[in-house]
Point group: D2
Chain length 286, copies 4
């Protein structure tokens, strides 16, 4: 695919302090390296003075030479930057528990080519999803978690992450709170999903609370994992309508549907390198 004679695609993402000349310098450096820009987004956050850019290019220049070439402009502007091979599957480990709705969609969309990810490992604290993993031919790791074994379980997980060069961890209804250390380690590289309501309901049995209040909309939020539970930077949100005739069980079923599609969308955007972190927010160049 990346022969010297046919052009290959790359995606450059970067953020830095906003200042005159960034776009000019970056586009100039890409031009010098023989790149043709096929798609580009920029965004300057007026509140924080941060600048964000995503550029897709085509070129016969190799990945490593392009990387080298960009280092000079990166240094000049103190860029926080990444270069990716366009369409190269992101190595993604899926964490799940018993619920299958999110992982089923991820596996199906991966296989059908919608999600540019490859999945070297599925990790779960229960055995329920093992047949599904087998059907898709993906190694399944059963790592039970109890208060006593939590540290060991996370160590095992970290080992898998290292061994498989995992670039993204997706918590597909994992139902376990990660330790602060692990959250720190996975900052910007782990995506979680949870249901959301208008307004939100704190405490136990949120679906029962939402049902008792008669909400008309059930939503889901996909976000990066941070140490503060369910408070990480939001990547995507979606909703589905419900009405008084829906039982709590119907609410839960609708919640599963909206969780699955919201998580899949967030994973797709992340894997296409469309999501940049802007402090506690995300910039999504969709």
């Amino acid at each position: 695919m990346n022969s010297p004679h046919s052009p290959a695609g790359y995606v450059l993402t970067l953020s830095c302090a906003d200042q005159p000349g960034i776009v000019h310098a970056v586009s100039g450096s890409l031009l010098e390296a023989g790149c043709n820009i096929t798609d580009s987004h920029q965004y300057g956050n007026p509140d924080t003075g941060s600048f964000f850019m995503r550029v897709a290019v085509e070129t016969t220049t190799s990945f490593s030479r392009l990387r080298e070439h960009l280092e000079s402009v990166a240094e000049t502007f103190s860029l926080n930057w990444q270069l990716h091979r366009a369409g190269a599957p992101v190595r993604t480990l899926i964490l799940a528990s018993k619920a299958a709705h999110c992982i089923n969609d991820l596996l199906f969309l991966q296989r059908s080519g919608t999600l540019p990810i490859e999945i070297p490992a599925i990790v779960s604290n229960h055995r329920d999803l093992e047949p599904l993993a087998q059907f898709y031919g993906i190694p399944f790791y059963y790592i039970p978690v109890t208060p006593d074994t939590k540290a060991d379980a996370e160590a095992a997980l970290l080992e898998l992450i290292a061994e498989h060069n995992v670039e993204l961890v997706v918590l597909a209804r994992y139902m376990q709170v990660l330790s602060d250390d692990l959250c720190q380690h996975l900052a910007g590289k782990a995506i979680n999903i949870h249901h959301s309501f208008l307004p939100s309901f704190k405490g136990a049995k949120p679906y029962h609370q939402a049902h008792a209040r008669g909400v008309k909309i059930i939503g889901a939020t996909a976000h990066y994992v941070t140490a503060v539970l369910d408070e990480g930077p939001i990547i995507e949100q979606e909703v589905i309508r419900v009405d008084h005739g829906h039982s709590v069980e119907n609410f839960v079923s609708v919640g599963r549907a909206v969780e699955a599609r919201t998580l899949a969308q967030a994973v797709q955007w992340h894997a296409e390198h469309r999501v940049l972190l802007d402090g506690h927010r995300t910039v999504v160049f969709d």
Copy 2:
């Protein structure tokens, strides 16, 4: 419209403890009174054992005779019931402050025939909306509110409600908290609107908080007014998508749009007698 020779339409709404025979008894009573059922919804809440019904009928029987006729079945089943003339405009008082977006939609949709309401009075604690009221030919009452005059202002409001036989009060961004007594007095007869987010943001400057968190959806909730602020039974909720490129001002502008359309929908359903109270929830027969 309601001559002895051409049929007129009525809407009967009722709730009661669920028990066998209600539908049979009510439909039998309507049949005896010479009514033809043109539309009917029932719902039994399995959690609370409450039963709800909305029936639209056509008949040459007069309103008062039909009312009388239904009293017997109402007593037998201890019905909480109302009989309405179909399409008769609901006498609606609008409370507003300075913001025009909600009231502008209500007035326009009233005039264009979408909202079956008539508006004998607009009350505001500011003069900003007086020209709009004049354009639509609706009496405008300027009733300023300060901590000292709040009781007097509410008394004046109650007088207007009584004088104009007001059946519904719509708080179209009124921005004043009603007293507990007034909330009690208007229970099930006053609709409020406020913005909502996934998740919700408590405290000051919610749009700034939502923006800082990078929410992807802005919503609005229309609900009946209760003494607990913004916690009344939800009638309708809607959302509009936003993204990182939207400023706080854009968020506010989107919030206005979704508030206006959500409130208008809630008022329409209420005025069509489609909303029944089920404790802290609503049943909406849309």
Copy 3:
């Protein structure tokens, strides 16, 4: 579940010419048979004078005795009626070709309990989906179709439908036009799905046409199969937004997502006996 001592649930659906007394007579007959109405919808079409009703009841009366009991009222009002065991899975045969997106959702939602169907057979004119069928433990019938063998293939299909007492046929992207005879035979019992646009694009390569025109929304329509291609009564429609940055391939991928969720919703409503035919329209009591 249906012991003499614990109540069972049934769903009665009916349509007939609108006339006074239907609801009273039906609810009376249900009352006599010891049924408690738990949910009920009625709708009278003012344009055609047709009346539609769906009643869910709980009773200790057996299915067969209830059926017998209702015959008298059915005769009096010339009802077109069906009685169903509530929640009893509808025997559903799935027709598919190579594309997996619709069938994958149907199988997953069936297994997770969202769709009250059971699937005795999957029929396809290609072998691609056999492993998926095996994973879910469902018999897979490979019935190739060529112009020459089409009649034989439909005969084989009809045999399977008879043998398995199939109540519903779902065309999950089957890509074959059924003969008029087969459409007739399956009237009201076969659901198809296809993409839709605002506006629609006739002729070949609709996604290319829609892309060339720059549509902003891609939709899908689930409908009952009739002899006129893609023109049967509409059960459900949904849409997803797209923009100029989406390629034709992205459009196709979005089209798959909206097809899958629209078809699943239509199948759910049908299997819950919420869809009644009203000439060329449907009445959906959701």
Copy 4:
């Protein structure tokens, strides 16, 4: 606002044949002119080889000097380009007939600051909307149109467009077909709105056809006017759900709501210089 000492904002939009170096040259030219890029979007259409760019900048350089400065790069790359003062209201003439729903939203959103337009004239072939124009203080021109006077009416319209330096014409349910010459003259500068369905219904009484078919979604399409009726480049589309219980009149009312909000969104994006023409499509940098 544009003093020599405080920076002013400009928006540059351009399209050209895709080629290496465009972004670099444009950003370089902007940099030389003392501009800081605050927001930028680019898009290359891989099918047509066209390139599109929208750049928002801040600078103390004057409008005319910046214009002059950009001419050299514009010539080099054969740019089709426009420079706009950011936030400067676009001079917009509204064409309407009797229906008020679209124009009412446009006028309200203009006044509330959501739409960056100013409206020097409202033109209608009926007098119904004159009071609304007066309320908003906008000159109202009554120009009746009959087959005999159509040419004269269009001449009068063209005179108004010239006299008021009109930059955008909005057909807010004008209900008259413009001549080919006028369409040509207004290419890319006139926005029309019409209802849309999934699928579309050709011929008379589309709402009746859609109702007879039982559609579940009503949509609207805002597009640039071209000589082929309702076939111009699509700017925006939206939908609202309906169901079997909606009458044709309800359909029409829902159609009005979705037309109004879709047109307003299209006008906002156009007036913010976010819409670029790409042959028969639009590129919308929202």
